[in-house]
């Protein structure tokens, strides 16, 4: 029994973190946020060279065929550096959807290109998770029509995977003449969002998803886990920065980190964050090896890490005082990344509600005799 990261996983994590330190410093992030696409592409390419695009692609399609724990580790490392690159959609959800439900032709065509970092696939499942406005995607006569919001990794995508309300998955070409792309600007400038408007866009179904919600659920589980890991990586960095700043900064003739109020703010962040690491690993492990527990764990991880991340990102800024609020220190890149992750693929209330449904709370009677525990626990 071993609960933790393997040496390979730790080494992958370290190499990505080191790469980002060297190639995606805060100044780089600021440049990318300001519109420097070339730099963004360079960082992206460097990470492809480290393997982020081939992680989940099966070996027979030229990938590394690693598992979700590896992917979580990568996502966490990307979150640590608020890496301005696509990942959750194109390198996790897309290959998973294709592997699980694609036809042989689809797999043969797409998976090697994903692995090689040659193609980007944007993912648009928000309408299945919880449709906003009047958005919906409908399928008829081999075409898709409708609107889809908040495509993940949609920028520069060559294709998109979308779903209808029944959870069937479809792939479309990004150049189809029936497709309009509308760029959305969110608070998080390290990643890009997009709306798609579809008028009879030619499509193919991923055949394994036909009348079968297992695939989309699994793809969403994986996406939620990646977003959680990303938020956790970002939150941990915010805590680390807060502690470091509190040891540097002096007020009233003392390090502010020697004031009990500041110490306790940091302790509370650590107390909330520390179990989240284990939770993310555990959920990834369930995804890989205990599938019957994976959906519940993925929902809870998404909701819980989002709540903890919200609190940590606020408190870490408070510890920094006024500086925490500045573009110069740039803490807000982490704050906003955590903020966007919170909403993608379901905000905490929605995801918790899903966790309740998974457990059939709405139908089932009490299962067990309740514990009658009472009295003096001191001697037991």
């Amino acid at each position: 029994m071993y609960f933790g990261l393997s040496e390979e996983q730790q080494s992958l994590e370290n190499s990505i973190k080191r790469y980002l330190e060297d190639n995606a410093s805060l100044d780089t992030i600021k440049a990318v946020a300001g519109g420097d696409k070339e730099t963004a592409e360079k960082v992206h390419q460097g990470l492809i060279d480290l393997g982020i695009s081939s992680l989940l692609v099966p070996e027979k399609y030229g990938g590394l065929e690693l598992d979700m724990l590896f992917a979580s580790v990568v996502s966490g490392a990307l979150g640590s550096g608020t890496a301005p690159v696509p990942f959750t959609g194109t390198y996790v959800m897309a290959p998973l959807a294709l592997s699980l439900a694609g036809s042989e032709v689809q797999k043969d065509y797409w998976l090697p290109k994903i692995a090689g970092g040659e193609r980007i696939i944007g993912i648009g499942l928000s309408e299945f998770v919880g449709a906003r406005e009047d958005t919906a995607i409908s399928f008829s006569n081999d075409t898709l029509s409708g609107r889809a919001l908040f495509i993940i990794d949609g920028k520069n995508a060559d294709a998109f995977i979308l779903s209808d309300k029944a959870g069937q998955l479809f792939i479309i070409d990004a150049d189809d003449s029936g497709l309009t792309k509308i760029e959305l600007t969110t608070v998080d400038k390290t990643r890009e969002s997009m709306e798609l408007v579809l008028k009879k866009v030619k499509t193919e179904i991923l055949p394994g998803s036909e009348k079968n919600q297992d695939v989309i659920n699994k793809v969403i589980d994986a996406g939620r886990l990646m977003l959680s890991a990303d938020s956790l990586g970002a939150s941990q960095v915010m805590l680390d920065k807060a502690v470091a700043y509190s040891l540097e900064r002096k007020q009233f003739g003392r390090q502010i980190g020697s004031f009990q109020a500041v110490k306790h703010m940091c302790a509370e962040m650590a107390a909330e964050l520390e179990p989240c690491h284990a939770m993310v690993w555990h959920t990834a492990h369930c995804f890989d090896h205990i599938p019957e527990e994976a959906r519940l764990m993925a929902c809870h991880t998404k909701a819980h890490v989002s709540e903890v991340g919200k609190q940590v990102s606020r408190t870490a800024i408070e510890v920094h005082g006024g500086m925490g609020f500045t573009e110069e220190l740039g803490l807000h890149y982490w704050f906003k990344r955590i903020g966007l992750n919170r909403q993608l693929l379901g905000s905490p209330e929605l995801v918790r509600e899903e966790a309740a449904k998974i457990q059939n709370f709405d139908q089932s009677p009490p299962e067990s005799q309740r514990t009658k525990e009472a009295g003096n626990p001191l001697l037991v």
Partner: protein
């Protein structure tokens, strides 16, 4: 208990409403110190809707202090789209300070043009190494003949870019204990040696600036109070600033806006307000807003009825108000879900992005003007009589 203002005030309210109706079309142009805006300020003063209790000789209306009339004016203006009287730190902080502690010449020189919007002020208090510990500030002022020579750096100076003047805390007595070595100086912002650098914030705007002073020379008479008394001079207005960050009327407006938002946003066609987990969060917020609103009525009452002691009710305002606003704006973002992350000029943006803007801005206010930790120190020490942080032994 009596929440009626009485018939005299009902009449007054009618009068204000009439004024508003008559002036609904007023357009002030874009710029801050446009002649239209200055005329409008003057018109408001002439009617007693602004600077009401400031003496006529200093450019005010010269009426009695009447909290209820002030409140009626604020309420009616808030409800209408008419331009509000100008605010800002010059009007809110410098004018009361000068009226209380300024020399006759300073009052004559500065109060009227400040009220009219001809002089905009900025505040030079915080420094990079003096935030919570403001009294440790190091910007230096030395008397050279009949001039102060100022060197140093201020930060978190809002409106520095528009301001003609700066009221500034400067260390003029380096050998005195830290609270007794500070003077309160008035510095023209066009003095040679002043450099302004905007501070870009997480909101994407630059509401604050760093201000650098290099051998800036101002007349020796540009001091309010005596040398070394600057800390005392500043403190009265600091208290005022803290209270003003959490106006319960604005809070109520935001809460109604949040309710509307939750009625109009939908998830799978169902209104967010019909989702009980969101609705319960809304109601928790509403309960907190109502409690703070009641608290503010109590404070209002104490301004009219001087014997009412509302010390604690005041001390908690900044802490409670800023945290509640942050939470309220945050709920709006969750209610919108992914749409709540939109910003700037994005398509599909709700309410001009004001929810995100305020969510972040109020995180800034939780920090600014005395962090929540400083507020809790104040509440426990000055509100509850608990001991100050003991002096630490030098290591």
């Amino acid at each position: 208990m009596d929440l009626n203002y009485g018939p005299e005030y009902d009449e007054f309210r009618e009068e204000v409403r009439l004024f508003i109706t008559e002036n609904e079309g007023v357009n002030l142009g874009g710029s801050l110190r446009s002649s239209e805006r200055i005329d409008w300020q003057q018109k408001l003063i002439d009617h007693g809707y602004f600077a009401r209790s400031t003496p006529k000789e200093y450019g005010g209306y010269g009426g009695d202090m009447d909290i209820i009339k002030s409140r009626i004016i604020a309420e009616e203006f808030a409800k209408s789209p008419i331009p509000k009287p100008m605010g800002g730190q010059g009007i809110q902080m410098l004018v009361p300070t000068l009226l209380e502690l300024g020399s006759e010449e300073q009052k004559q020189t500065y109060v009227k043009p400040t009220l009219r919007g001809e002089i905009i002020w900025c505040q030079g208090y915080s420094e990079p190494n003096s935030g919570s510990d403001l009294a440790s500030l190091q910007t230096k002022g030395e008397l050279d003949g009949d001039e102060w020579v100022i060197n140093g750096q201020k930060t978190w100076t809002s409106t520095a870019k528009f301001a003609q003047m700066c009221f500034c805390l400067v260390r003029t007595e380096p050998d005195a204990p830290k609270h007794q070595g500070i003077s309160y100086l008035l510095i023209p912002m066009d003095s040679p040696g002043i450099e302004i650098r905007p501070i870009m914030q997480m909101t994407g705007t630059a509401d604050f600036n760093e201000v650098f002073f290099t051998d800036v020379r101002i007349p020796a008479t540009n001091i309010v109070g005596k040398r070394g008394e600057g800390w005392k001079v500043a403190n009265a207005t600091l208290a005022y600033e803290r209270g003003s960050l959490a106006d319960p009327n604005v809070m109520m407006n935001r809460m109604y806006a949040l309710i509307d938002l939750m009625k109009s946003e939908t998830i799978d066609g169902e209104r967010v307000i019909d989702k009980p987990a969101f609705r319960d969060r809304l109601l928790r917020i509403q309960g907190r807003v109502l409690a703070l609103q009641s608290n503010s009525l109590r404070i209002l009452s104490s301004q009219i009825n001087k014997e009412q002691d509302v010390t604690l009710a005041r001390f908690i305002l900044k802490l409670q108000g800023t945290e509640l606003r942050h939470d309220l704006e945050g709920l709006a973002i969750d209610a919108m879900g992914e749409l709540g992350t939109l910003y700037e000029n994005s398509p599909l943006l709700r309410d001009s992005g004001s929810w995100q803007m305020h969510y972040m801005y109020f995180l800034g206010l939780i920090i600014g003007g005395g962090t929540s930790q400083i507020q809790k120190n104040i509440i426990s020490e000055r509100g509850l009589g608990m001991p100050k942080e003991p002096k630490v032994q030098e290591a």
